[in-house]
Amino acid sequence: MSVIRTALSELWGLFIDDGSLALALVAWSAVAVWLLPLTPAAPASHAPILFLGCVTILIVNVLASARRKSR
C-alpha cells in the first residue's frame, strides 16, 4: 500500500510543486477556454490572451516566491 501511495505521490509531484501556481494555471486555462469565446474579443486574439495570462502567472509566482524566500 505504501508503494502505491509513494507512486501516487511521485506522480502528483510531477505536475504540482507550488499549489498556488498549479491552481492559477488550471483556473486561467478554464477561464480562457470557456469564457474567452463568450467575450467581444476578436477570435484571433484568444490564443495570444491565453499566452499572456500564462506568462503573467509565471512571473507573478516567481517574484512572490523570491520575496517569500527573503523573509
Partner: protein, 248 residues
C-alpha cells in the same frame, strides 16, 4: 502538417528533458554499482527500463484513440503544469533563490546511505534503489514522450529523441565512470521548461479551438517569448530575494 516545424520541437524537448533525467538516474546507478556491485545496479535499472517501455507501449497508442480536442486540452494542461514547474524552479535557481542541484552531492549522499550497516538483504535494497531511480526519473521522460507524441502525432520522433539522450548518457557514464557533475543541469532544465510550457500553452489553445498565428510555427515563437520573459525575471527575482539592508 508534419515536417521539421512539427516534429523538430518534439525531438528537441524529448532529447533535452531525457538528458536531464538520465543524468540524475545515472548518478544513483553509479552509487549503487560502486558501493554494492554492478549486478544489483544493472538488474534494478534494467527492470525499471522495461517497466517504462511497457508504459510507453501501452499508453502511447491508447491515447491516440481519445478524441483529438479533449486530448489536446487535457495533455496541454498537464504539460503546462509540468513545464511551468520546471521553468519556475530553473528561474529561481538561476536567481540564486534556491540552490542548484548538485550531482556530486547526490552521489555522495547515496553512497553514504547504501554503505551504512551490514545487511544480507542489501542486494535487494540496492536493486530496489536502482529500479526506483530509473522508474521515477524515467516517468518524466515517458510523460514528455507520450504528451508531445500523442498530441502532435510525433510519438516516434519524440521516442527517438529520448532514446538518443539515453544512449549519450550511458556512453558518457561508461567513459567517465563518475557522476556527470559538469552537465549544465539548470540550463537544460531552463530550456526544457520553456519548451514544455510552450507545448502546453499551444495544445491548450488547439484543444480550445483557438487559432495560433503561424500554425505549428507558433511553438518556437511561444518558446522565444517564454524564454525572454523568464530571462528578464531572473535579475528581478534575484533583487527581490536580497533581504532589506543585506548584501547580495
Amino acid at each position: 502538417m508534419t515536417g521539421w516545424s512539427h516534429s523538430g520541437p518534439s525531438v528537441v524537448a524529448a532529447f533535452l528533458a531525457s538528458l536531464v533525467e538520465f543524468v540524475e538516474a545515472l548518478t544513483i546507478i553509479l552509487a549503487v554499482g560502486t558501493v554494492r556491485g554492478w549486478r544489483p545496479a544493472l538488474t534494478g535499472a534494467g527492470a525499471g527500463a522495461l517497466l517504462l517501455l511497457a508504459l510507453v507501449l501501452l499508453f502511447g497508442p491508447l491515447l491516440t484513440r481519445v478524441p483529438l480536442h479533449p486530448l489536446q486540452l487535457g495533455i496541454g494542461v498537464l504539460m503546462l503544469l509540468f513545464g511551468m514547474r520546471w521553468l519556475r524552479k530553473a528561474i529561481l535557481r538561476a536567481a540564486g533563490v534556491i540552490a542548484l542541484h548538485d550531482e556530486a552531492q547526490a552521489y555522495a549522499a547515496e553512497t553514504a546511505r547504501l554503505g551504512v550497516g551490514v545487511d544480507a538483504r542489501r542486494d535487494w535494497v540496492a536493486t530496489a534503489t536502482a529500479f526506483k531511480a530509473v522508474v521515477l526519473e524515467g516517468l518524466e521522460v515517458v510523460f514528455i514522450v507520450i504528451a508531445v507524441g500523442a498530441t502532435g502525432g510525433t510519438l516516434i520522433p519524440a521516442s527517438l529523441g529520448a532514446a538518443a539522450a539515453g544512449v549519450l548518457v550511458i556512453a558518457l557514464g561508461l567513459i567517465v565512470h563518475k557522476p556527470l557533475a559538469r552537465v549544465p543541469e539548470n540550463t537544460l532544465k531552463f530550456t526544457v521548461g520553456v519548451l514544455i510550457t510552450s507545448f502546453g500553452v499551444f495544445w491548450v489553445g488547439e484543444g480550445a479551438g483557438f487559432g495560433w498565428p503561424g500554425g505549428d510555427w507558433a511553438i518556437p515563437g511561444l518558446a522565444a517569448l517564454f524564454l525572454a520573459a523568464a530571462l528578464a525575471a531572473v535579475p528581478v527575482a534575484r533583487a527581490r530575494a536580497v533581504p532589506v539592508g543585506g548584501a547580495a
